[in-house]
């Protein structure tokens, strides 16, 4: 087990290093791009050349990469041209907002999708199973950009219950958080619920669960004590891998609701061609993805004893 953990951690570091090299080559291989991004399109070639020399961009690529990586590791991420402030500071504030959004997303998603999936998988083929399956397949067919529009049409424009933007101009407000969280959960719960259902149905058909039923144990006990433990292995792995999906999802939802979060920051950085900000944002997403994938893999091994010797 310990060897497996170490191997997986090494793999995680290697992935992050490779991703950083890829991003560096994409963004900074040609120093001209950096100068263009930092000084803007109206700078002269002479100004850009001077800026490059002054900032050490005349050094060999290998040295520049190592220095860039070093700066990144110690948290010196440069200044954002768009926001006229240190990148680390902006990313910190935005990340915090998205973390709150992400927390409520998972707080709602996990009980809803696992609950529905378990209910449907417990009795395969029942009317409840069919109703849940139809609900899930329809909601997963509504992409986030459409669900934001549709739920706004209902709750904002028709019923006037909720605010249509979540910019939180006058401080944090839970009322403004409802719509973004709802849009994300609506698209996503069906997918997890369906995986849970398939996994649950499979476990319910195994010999040991049938043996438990035949022994005369009450169904509640069979499901909660015997079946769920094994049925939840697959959804757990999936939920961890979902952090990666969430980043894609929040970009759309934050953009629509003008939520000042990490997702909209990535979009602003790339549309505004703010190179240092974009570099920091993408490195953070890769970091988060690599860490959660590692946890998912190790969790899978830890939860499923059959995998330990593999």
């Amino acid at each position: 087990m310990a060897r497996q953990v170490l191997r997986r951690l090494a793999l995680m570091l290697a992935t992050m290093l490779a991703a950083s090299l890829l991003l560096f080559l994409l963004f900074e291989l040609l120093p001209g791009n950096v100068a263009l991004s930092e000084l803007g399109p109206y700078s002269t070639q002479e100004q850009r050349d001077l800026w490059l020399v002054a900032n050490g961009y005349d050094r060999p690529v290998v040295i520049r990469y190592l220095l860039w990586l070093g700066h990144f590791v110690i948290g010196d991420w440069g200044n954002s041209r768009l926001f006229m402030a240190p990148v680390a500071q902006i990313v910190g504030v935005r990340f915090e907002n998205t973390a709150v959004l992400g927390f409520w997303f998972f707080a709602l998603l996990v009980p809803l999708s696992l609950g529905l999936g378990t209910l449907a998988g417990m009795r395969q083929g029942s009317w409840l199973d069919r109703a849940i399956s139809v609900l899930c397949i329809v909601t997963t067919s509504i992409p986030p950009f459409a669900s934001t529009v549709l739920i706004s049409a209902i709750f904002v424009f028709s019923l006037h219950w909720l605010p249509g933007t979540s910019s939180m101009m006058d401080g944090f407000s839970y009322r403004q958080l409802i719509m973004p969280v709802m849009a994300l959960v609506l698209y996503d719960f069906g997918y997890i619920a369906r995986i849970t259902r398939a996994s649950m149905a499979e476990v319910m058909a195994t010999q040991y669960v049938r043996a438990a039923v035949l022994r005369g144990l009450p169904q509640r006990r069979v499901v909660l004590r015997h079946a769920l433990r094994n049925a939840l292995i697959a959804p757990f792995t999936l939920l961890m891998l979902h952090v990666n999906w969430l980043i894609s999802g929040v970009i759309v939802v934050e953009y629509f609701f003008a939520f000042k979060g990490f997702g909209s920051l990535i979009l602003e950085a790339s549309l505004g061609k703010d190179l240092y900000l974009l570099e920091a944002c993408t490195m953070i997403t890769v970091f988060m993805a690599a860490v959660t994938q590692t946890i998912a893999d190790l969790g899978y091994v830890a939860l499923n004893p059959r995998m330990r010797r593999a």
Partner: protein
């Protein structure tokens, strides 16, 4: 994860056979879900092909701004779904927009599958350093959230149909490679593969003729799901302003252009939304129905 993939794969694999198994195509009619999905997709395919004849107005022609559904144009024709903020007929734009989606989504999916299957076959069958190298590249690409990858690529290389296809191929072929690799790992130790090797069949033939047809079921189901997902991706890029350049209609772009007016003119955003959702639903239903048919095989 690969071990988990193989575990799942082993359960859905049909018995060995040579040549593609198309039994499930004839039985699509047996699955209500798959039939409904297929009908929805066919509906949009017909709409896309016949766009020049069935669309009542040219898609980019400004006629009468902000007309709601059912209002008549100066020449007497009806705006069935109303017009947008520039006065372009929404029905015509949805009809022409179906062409964008139904050209680029299948094209991008096909490219991803060609690359993903080739890499997966090589990695799963040859093993060794090829497997190691391909798996590490896969890990690397999958470490980027898909939309972040699209945003980086599109904002760096510009928004065009080709770039969207390339970006989707880059982002989705690793997942297809993983799936194929898992299926191949479950198949390569089977007797019919050993028999083919003993007969002296070359490696490519064993991979393409012996192994691939037996792995086709789960791959076809994945292709349907992925088509739906690519439709969402193209819509999302349009919605974020990174889609195809205007003025040609694109469902995601239509939603983004008119969502400012949703408070007063909800029809402008509602109909393109319904168009995207119905097409995605079609692919999801077809995938769901096929999954059961393929497992029966």
């Amino acid at each position: 994860m690969s071990a988990a993939g193989a575990e799942i794969a082993a359960e859905v694999l049909p018995p060995p056979s040579r040549g593609l198994r198309f039994g499930w195509i004839r039985r699509i009619g047996h699955s209500k879900v798959a039939t409904i999905g297929l009908l929805i997709i066919l509906f949009w395919a017909v709409v896309a092909v016949t766009a020049p004849w069935i669309s009542p107005f040219p898609p980019n022609l400004p006629i009468r701004p902000m007309a709601s559904a059912g209002v008549r144009a100066p020449n007497g024709a009806v705006f069935w779904l109303g017009t947008d903020h520039l006065g372009r007929d929404i029905l015509s734009r949805i009809i022409w927009g179906s062409r964008t989606v139904l050209v680029y989504a299948p094209l991008a999916t096909a490219c991803s599958f060609v690359i993903g299957i080739t890499a997966g076959l090589l990695a799963g069958f040859k093993r060794g350093w090829i497997d190691e190298a391909l798996s590490r590249i896969t890990d690397l690409v999958l470490a980027f959230p898909a939309l972040v990858l699209y945003i980086i690529i599109i904002s760096k290389f510009g928004a065009s149909g080709i770039n969207i296809v390339l970006a989707v191929t880059l982002a989705s072929s690793p997942a297809i490679m993983r799936l194929t690799r898992g299926l191949v790992l479950a198949l390569r130790t089977r007797a019919f593969v050993a028999a083919a090797q003993l007969r002296g069949e070359p490696a490519w033939r064993v991979m393409v003729v012996e192994i691939l047809p037996n792995a086709s079921g789960p791959l076809i189901v994945d292709a349907c799901l992925r088509l739906g997902y690519v439709v969402i991706t193209i819509g999302t890029l349009g919605f974020l302003g990174l889609g195809l350049p205007p003025p040609d209609p694109d469902w995601g772009g239509m939603i983004n252009d008119t969502r400012k007016f949703a408070l007063v003119f909800p029809h402008m955003v509602l109909f393109p939304c319904l168009a995207v959702c119905s097409l995605v639903l079609g692919f999801n239903l077809l995938a769901d129905g096929l999954r059961e048919l393929v497992t029966e095989d």
